[in-house]
Symmetry: C2
Subunit: 198 residues, 2 copies
DNA sequence: GTTTTCATATTGCCAGTGTAAATATTGTGG
DNA sequence: CCACAATATTTACACTGGCAATATGAAAAC
C-alpha cells in the first residue's frame, strides 16, 4: 500500500472521480461540492483544477463513468437472454435497475446543468450506452410499413420509455417507493408494446 | 398605474413567481438565484423569505405554476379531438410541446433538487397534470387480460413514454435540435403502441 | 384621531461556494 | 547538477442563501 502521503498524489484524476462517486452514493447531489470531493481524495480544493478545468469538468468526468456503468447494467442480463424480445426486456430492466441503484448519479448523467454534453469523453460514453439499446432493438419486427425509418423511431420509443420510467420511478413519482406495495416493474408494462416476433 | 414604489409591495408573492418564470425563460436555471429573482421584482433579496420560507420554497411555488401550465398545454388540443386515440395523441403532443417551449421550467418541475414534492400545493398541481393523462387513457381498449390493473399500467407506460420523450428531446439528446433535420415527433413514434379501437 | 399591533421589507452580517493568481514542492530530461 | 514542467497549496476574492435586528406602513383597537 502506498499510503505514504507525498506532495504529488500520483493518480489524482481517477481518485477524484471515485471520491465523487462515493459522495454521490452517500449524500446525493447536494453533498457533491468541489471542497467535499477534494477533501475525500485528501487534497486541497483547488487541486482538481489541474486535471479538470472546473467543477463542471470534474462532474462531466463522473458522468462519463456513470454512462459506462449504465451500459454495463444494461448488458448484465443480456447473456442469459436468447430471443429478441427477451434481450430487449433484459436491457430495459438494466436501464431501470441502474437508476434505482444509483439515483443521484443517474440524475447527474442526464443533467446538462452538471455535465457538459459537448465533452468528447462524455459523448463517447453516452454513445456506448445508447448502442446497447440499438443492439437489442435490431432484429425486432417493427411495423416497417409505417415509415421508412421505423428502426430509428423504434429506438426513440424504447429510449423514451425506458428513460421516462427510470426517471419517474427514481424520483419516487410512481408512489411511495419504500413501501412493500406492488408497484409494476418496467417489464410488467413493457408487453403493452407491439412487436411481432414473440 | 400604481407605479408608486411603496415600502409594501402589495402582491409580492405572485410578483416573485412571475419574476422567476421570466428569468427562467431568458437565462434558464443558472440565472435563477434568490437575489436575481428579488431584484427583478424590485425588492431586496430577503423579502421572499416572508412569503416562502427559503429559495426552495419559492422554486416549489414556481414549479406548481409550471404544472398548471403544463396541464393547460395538454388540454389545449383536446377539444378538437373526438376519438380516444386522437385525444391521447393530442395530450401527448401537449406534454412534449410544453417541454420544448419551456425547457428550463420543465426541468425545474421534475427535479426534487429544486422542488419540494412534499409541498401540498405542488402535489395538487402535479395531480392536476397527471389527471389529464388518466383521462385520455381511459376508454382505450388495453390488453385487459394481461393484468388486473391494466389501466394503471397503461397510464404508467404513457406517462413514462411522454416524459422520457419530452426530457430527452428537451435536453437535445435526440440530435441537433436547431437543425432543419426531420426529427420524428412523438406522434410519429406513438403509433408503435398497441391500442385497439382505432 | 390617536395609539397599538403586526405583517412586511430592509440593512448588515455570516458561513460557505467555486474560481483565480501567486507560491511551493516534486519528478524529469538536458 | 540544473532548468523545466507538472502538480499541489496557500491566499484572496466575488458571489450565494440564510439569519437577526431594524425600519416601515397599514390596519385594528382604543
Amino acid at each position: 500500500m502506498s499510503k505514504e502521503k507525498s506532495y504529488h498524489h500520483g493518480d489524482l484524476k481517477s481518485a477524484l472521480i471515485e471520491a465523487g462517486l462515493a459522495i454521490l452514493e452517500r449524500d446525493g447531489l447536494k453533498g457533491l461540492g468541489l471542497r467535499a470531493i477534494a477533501a475525500k481524495a485528501g487534497v486541497s480544493h483547488t487541486a482538481p483544477r489541474n486535471h479538470f478545468g472546473s467543477l463542471r469538468g470534474l462532474l462531466t468526468a463522473i458522468g462519463a463513468e456513470g454512462y459506462r456503468r449504465h451500459a454495463a447494467f444494461m448488458r448484465e442480463g443480456l447473456s442469459d437472454a436468447s430471443t429478441g424480445p427477451d434481450r430487449l426486456q433484459a436491457a430495459m430492466e438494466g436501464y431501470v435497475r441502474f437508476s434505482a441503484a444509483h439515483p443521484a448519479l443517474f440524475k447527474l448523467m442526464f443533467s446538462d446543468y452538471y455535465c457538459d454534453f459537448e465533452d468528447a469523453e462524455l459523448q463517447e460514453a453516452a454513445a456506448g450506452s445508447y448502442a446497447v439499446l440499438t443492439e437489442v432493438a435490431t432484429g425486432l419486427d417493427w411495423d416497417k410499413a409505417a415509415a421508412p425509418d421505423a428502426q430509428h423511431r423504434a429506438e426513440m420509443m424504447l429510449w423514451s420509455f425506458a428513460h421516462g420510467f427510470a426517471t419517474l420511478s427514481a424520483s419516487g413519482q410512481f408512489g411511495p417507493g419504500a413501501e412493500g406495495a406492488n408497484i409494476p416493474t418496467i417489464s410488467d408494462v413493457l408487453p403493452t408494446f407491439r412487436y411481432r416476433d414473440r
